[in-house]
């Protein structure tokens, strides 16, 4: 996916929303290239179990780089319907494809309100520039 087609949270998660075969909205969540660059060498990741219900802003996982453990935050409300479990064994490849094979979880939306708070790519780039990334 191209980042220009995604939405972004202030905490550097990206969101791509699709409609599944039942008509439900499902958000695919990942970490932005900007955040991954700041994290540097990745060591571990912990993702939630399928079925867990998340509120917007709730921590759903953790990622460890060589020097820091960072929380991952849900940008939406909903239930986890899939997790990218194999990522734990190929973390070094995450920065090379953050918006494709770097997806972390898929969340079936229970409420679409939070999507309105997310930024488009241009606004997110502006935030990153202000943060000095």
């Amino acid at each position: 996916m191209k980042p220009e087609t995604l939405l972004f949270s202030k905490t550097h998660e990206w969101v791509h929303v699709e409609t599944d075969s039942t008509g439900a909205k499902v958000a695919t969540i990942g970490i932005s290239a900007f955040a991954l660059e700041a994290l540097t060498d990745l060591v571990y990741i912990e993702l939630p179990k399928v079925g867990r219900t998340l509120k917007t802003g709730e921590a759903f996982g953790e990622i460890e780089s060589v020097k820091a453990v960072s929380d991952l935050y849900s940008p939406v409300d909903g239930a986890v319907v899939a997790t990218h479990d194999s990522l734990a064994n190929e973390l070094e490849s995450l920065p090379s494809d953050p918006y494709g094979n770097g997806w972390l979880v898929k969340i079936k939306l229970s409420d679409e309100t939070a999507l309105q708070e997310l930024m488009d790519y241009a606004a997110y780039q502006k935030q990153c520039a202000e943060e000095g990334h």
């Binding site: 700041a38 802003g57 960072s70 943060e131």
Partner: protein, 247 residues
């Protein structure tokens, strides 16, 4: 100049020390001032990196009798004994974390400068070689990362961060002397020939940090609210089996 709180804690248990750092993180995330805390440990204590497996401590029999606490930060295990430990907590948007490695760099380069007052010539590690996770040694001080503080080829200072929305915690250790619970790790006494007390190193370090980081120190104690929160976090998290044995 920016005013930071300077907290010099008495020796504490592992669960209390980690809980205080967590409480300070919540305090800063809620809008509190940046803080620097120096602390030591009431007894030799092993702290396990957040993602390390508890069973891995079996690989280090010298520290088997020490109490253990799991940190919120990553990296390898540390035997906290004859050392100075510090924590720094700043807001997530603080200039010292843009880019994020800057906070490591400022703490470590000022530590090197402080040690020079004792004519100890430490340096920052520029080793960027990648060691597979499974092959990393159990002990943090046997691992190497760019920016670690090195003396005579041995690591004597290292740090790790926890990043949460609103605040960043960085804590780290400086080995003052070899510990019987980690006899493979020399400290400043063995490598530099100087037995430096934790308090005097802290004093020199914070002077260099004030100059480098344009910081004005304001001596402080934990607030009543922070103490209560630390007690609660120690009880609910750091003393709990769910936390300690989570991996």
């Amino acid at each position: 100049m920016e005013t930071w709180r300077l907290i010099e804690s008495p020796p504490g248990r592992g669960d209390w020390n980690m809980a205080v750092d967590a409480a300070l993180m919540e305090s800063v995330a809620a809008g509190g001032a940046c803080c620097l805390r120096f602390y030591t440990w009431s007894e030799p204590t092993v702290s396990l990196g957040y993602f390390q497996e508890y069973a891995a401590r079996q690989t280090h029999p010298a520290s088997a009798a020490c109490p253990l606490v799991r940190r919120a930060t990553g990296g390898g295990a540390i035997v906290h004994d004859r050392e100075l430990t510090y924590s720094v907590v700043v807001p997530a948007d603080h200039p010292l974390v843009s880019p994020p490695p800057e906070l490591y760099q400022v703490l470590h380069r000022t530590l090197v400068a402080a040690l020079a007052e004792w004519h100890i010539c430490a340096a920052l590690c520029d080793d960027s070689s990648h060691v597979p996770v499974a092959e990393e040694p159990f002990l943090c001080f046997q691992r190497r990362a760019s920016g670690d503080v090195i003396l005579g080829g041995a690591k004597i200072g290292g740090s790790a961060q926890r990043r949460r929305r609103g605040a960043i915690l960085q804590h780290g250790s400086v080995l003052l002397a070899r510990s019987l619970a980690a006899p493979e790790l020399p400290g400043l006494a063995e490598l530099g020939g100087k037995l430096i007390q934790a308090a005097e190193l802290g004093q020199a370090w914070r002077a260099h940090l004030a100059h480098d980081g344009m910081i004005d120190w304001q001596s402080a104690l934990l607030t009543e609210s922070e103490s209560q929160q630390a007690s609660q976090i120690a009880h609910e998290t750091y003393r709990g089996a769910d936390w300690t044995f989570r991996r």
